[in-house]
Symmetry: C2
Subunit: 416 residues, 2 copies
C-alpha cells in the first residue's frame, strides 16, 4: 500500500501546527540560584528601592557640595574630618557645615552630605584632622541615590523572560531568593521499527541501533525540556497505541520516530488520530530531508493541548525536522514565544549547491573562518548518513523556488 501524503510547504506546516497548539502551562516556584535558563511565569516587583540607601561610588569624603564650591589647587576648601564611615554600617554621625566623613566605595552617605569628593582630589593637612579639597563637587557627584537602580514596586522582571545571570543577580539584590517559573515540559520519546535495537546491543545483519532516542534527548534537553524514553517498540498497532497513550498521559508532548517503512508511518498517523483532537494536522512536508513527517496536536477533555510528532526514522531527517518543528514547540511549552530558527552566521558558499525546485532543501555545511569572514563548505553525502551531521556546523536552507545556490553566494547558516 503506497503512502498517502499531502505534501505542504514547510512554512505552512509550521503555521498549521502553531495555530492549533495553545497549551496551558503549569507554574512552579524554585530557588533563584537554580533558575538559570528558566522562564519567569509572573511579574517580579521590587519590594524596596535599590540602592536602599545613598551610596558612594568612589573612595573619598562625604561632604556638603556647597562647602566645596570655588575650591581649587591654589585656593582649596578646608574641611574637618569628623570620622570614618565603616562598610556595612550606618554612619555614626551627620555632618554639618565645614565637616566631612571618610567614606569607601559602596559606603552609606551620612545625613547632611550630598556629594563625595574623590580621595585623589583631596590632601591631608599635616598634624590636624583637616583636609584640603582641591576641586569643587557638584550635588550628587559620586553618589548613587536611593532608587536610582529601581524604585520600590517597580516591575523588574517581566513574565515570559528567560532568566540569565543578570536577572538572577537582580533578584538576589532585592532579596528575592525564590522565583515562579514555568515547569519544564516532559517530552516522551518512542522509537519504532522491527530493525531498531538499543545502542548497547550487538547488531545482527539487518539491524540498526536506536540513534533517535539519543539525538532527540539531546535536542530536548538543550531546549529546556526533559526527555523521557518509552523504549523501542515493534511495528505493532496495539503495543504502540497503548504505550503512546500512557506516554501522553504522563508527559506534555510525544515524539514517535516511525520505522522506515510506509506502513509503519501510516500506523503512527492512525495512532495520533486516536490520541485526541484535532489529531493529525500535517502528513507530509515538501522538504528534504524529512518529507514523511507527521505533525499533530492531541486535546483531551480537561487537559492541555499536547503536541504529538511523528518523525521519520532516519536519524538525519529526524534531527533536522526536530530542529525546525520541535524547537518552536519546546519554546511555547517553556513559556517563550515560538519563533522559527534564526540564522546567526552569514557565510560565503564555496561550491554550487544543487537542489530540486519545488522542495525546500536543508544542506549540511562546515564553517571555515577566514580573514574575510566565514566560508560555508557543503558536506556532501546521502541525506541519511548521521556522520554528515557530525562533520557539519550548521544547515543552509535552499528555498522551494530555487534550483540550488551558486558558489560565492552569501548564505545564512543555522547552527546545529
Amino acid at each position: 500500500m503506497p503512502e498517502f501524503l499531502h505534501l505542504v510547504p514547510p512554512s505552512e506546516a509550521l503555521t498549521r501546527l502553531l495555530d492549533n497548539f495553545h497549551p496551558t502551562l503549569e507554574i512552579e516556584e524554585i530557588a533563584t540560584i537554580e533558575a538559570l535558563g528558566r522562564v519567569s511565569a509572573e511579574p517580579v516587583n521590587a519590594p524596596h528601592p535599590l540602592p536602599s540607601f545613598p551610596r558612594a561610588t568612589h573612595d573619598g569624603y562625604a561632604v556638603r557640595a556647597e562647602d566645596t564650591y570655588g575650591a581649587s589647587e591654589s585656593l582649596p576648601a578646608y574641611l574637618k574630618v569628623i570620622g570614618e564611615i565603616l562598610m556595612g554600617s550606618a554612619p555614626q554621625a551627620a555632618i554639618k557645615a565645614g565637616e566631612c566623613l571618610l567614606i569607601h566605595t559602596g559606603g552609606m552617605l551620612p545625613e547632611g552630605a550630598n556629594a563625595v569628593v574623590m580621595l585623589e582630589y583631596t590632601q591631608a593637612v599635616k598634624n590636624t584632622n583637616e583636609i584640603e579639597v582641591l576641586r569643587p563637587a557638584a550635588i550628587g557627584e559620586n553618589v548613587i541615590k536611593v532608587g536610582e537602580d529601581v524604585v520600590a514596586g517597580q516591575e523588574v522582571i517581566s513574565p515570559g523572560r528567560r532568566l540569565r545571570a543578570a536577572e538572577i543577580g537582580g533578584a538576589a539584590a532585592l532579596g528575592i531568593t525564590r522565583l515562579k517559573v514555568f515547569r519544564q515540559p516532559r517530552i516522551a520519546l518512542i522509537s519504532t521499527g522491527d530493525e531498531v535495537v538499543p545502542p548497547d546491543q550487538t547488531i545482527q545483519p539487518g539491524q540498526v541501533r536506536d540513534v533517535n532516542t539519543y539525538t532527540l534527548s539531546a535536542l530536548i534537553s538543550e531546549n529546556g525540556g526533559i526527555p523521557l524514553s518509552y523504549g523501542i517498540l515493534p511495528d505493532n498497532a496495539q503495543v504502540l497505541a497503548e504505550t503512546a497513550g500512557k506516554a501522553l498521559e504522563a508527559c506534555d508532548g510525544l515524539i514517535i520516530t516511525a520505522g522506515s517503512s510506509a506502513s509503519a508511518r501510516d500506523l503512527t498517523s492512525e495512532i495520533i488520530q486516536q490520541l485526541g483532537s484535532p489529531g493529525v494536522l500535517v502528513h507530509g512536508i515538501n522538504i528534504r530531508p524529512g518529507k514523511p513527517t507527521i505533525l499533530g496536536v492531541c486535546r483531551q477533555a480537561g487537559k492541555s493541548d499536547k503536541p504529538v510528532i511523528g518523525l521519520p526514522g532516519n536519524p538525519v531527517s529526524a534531527l533536522v525536522i526536530a530542529t525546525l518543528f520541535v524547537k518552536p514547540i519546546l519554546r511555547l511549552l517553556n513559556g517563550l514565544p515560538a519563533v522559527p530558527p534564526q540564522p546567526v552566521i552569514r557565510a560565503k558558499l564555496t561550491v554550487n549547491l544543487p537542489s530540486e525546485a519545488g522542495r525546500e532543501d536543508w544542506a549540511p555545511v562546515r564553517l571555515v573562518e577566514t580573514a574575510e569572514g566565514y566560508l560555508a563548505e557543503p558536506v556532501f553525502g546521502k541525506s541519511n548518513l548521521i556522520f554528515t551531521l557530525v562533520r557539519a556546523d550548521g544547515l543552509v536552507r535552499i528555498p522551494m523556488d530555487a534550483n540550488g545556490v551558486s558558489a560565492e553566494s552569501i548564505v545564512e547558516v543555522f547552527p546545529l
Copy 2:
C-alpha cells in the same frame, strides 16, 4: 593608603593570563546519553563500518541492475518476486538472474542484488509473482553501501570537540554508549566585604546583598563549570587566606569578589600572591567597568595550574569582567581552545555613545528588531547598577582609541 594599580590594556591582560595558564585536565568516562555539551577527551574510532550492511534508501525491489537495463514503460523488464526482506533480518535468500525481492527503506540488500528499483517504477503483473520494471536502475541506485557513512577504524569524533546531538547520535549508531570526556571544572567562589549579607537576609542601613555568588554561579554553570560557594567573608586577612587556601585545594579555580574598598582589594592581591606562583599577573585593567580586576595563576608542586581571579565587588563590573576573562579560562578548563568572546549580532546604534579615549568601555545595549535589521539602544545609567544589565541584551565594546561611537554606526553586540 591609595591603591597601587598598574593598568594594562584588556587584550594584554588576557594574553598574560592565557600565556601563564596551562592546566592539566582530568578525564572521566560518562554515559553517551549524558554527554551533551561536554568535550571529548580522546579520539573515538568506529569499531565497525556504518552502515554495517548494504541498505535500501527507498521502498522497492532489490534487483540485479543488469536485469533492468533498457527497461521502459513500453518495454518493461519482467522479474520474478521470490519473497520479501523483513526489517531487522538478513534476507532469507540470494537473488539470481531474473529474480528480485521486495525490500523496505532501511532493509538489507540480499546477495546478488546491487540496486533497488523504487516501488513507483514497478507494476505487479496480475495473478503472477512477477513485476514489470518500467525504468532501468544503475548499479548502486537507492542503496547505501557498507561503510558509506564511516569505515571501520575511522576517527569519528576528534578530541577537544564539544559534543552536540549529532556526535551523541553518531556514537549511539556505532554502539559507543560511554565516552571519555574532560571532567567539568569546579570553581570556588568567595565573596568578601563587611557590607555584604546573604540574599535571604533583611538588609540594615549600609548593607547590601551578595549578588556576585548568584551571577557568577550562573555564568560558571552556563560555561560548563560547577560553581561552589565558600560563603561571604569579612575583610580579615587570616580568615580570607585560610578559606582561599582550602577552596583552591578542593577546586580547579577560585574567584574572589573583593569588597569595595581599596584595602580589601590589596588584601585579595596579597592572598593570590601567597597561593602559588606566578601569582598576580595583572592588577588593574584599562577598562570600564572593572578597572580594579586582579588576574592570577597559582601553581603548586605536583598540581595543575589554577586560575585565581579577583573581581571588583560591584556586580556589574564583576559580571562584565567574568564574561571577558573568566569565560576563556572556563573554556580551557573544559578542554576547548580559549577564544575571546565573539560578537554575534550586528546592530545600528540609535544615539551617540560617549566614552573616554585611553580606556576600553563596555556599554550595555538593548536590541530592537526592525525590518532593516537590529537597532542597539544604549541602556544608560551608572555602571554599577545591576538592573542596567537586566534591561540589556548585550554589550558594545568601545575601543581604547575611540572617543565614543556615533549614532547610526554599525556596532557589534556581544550577547549577555
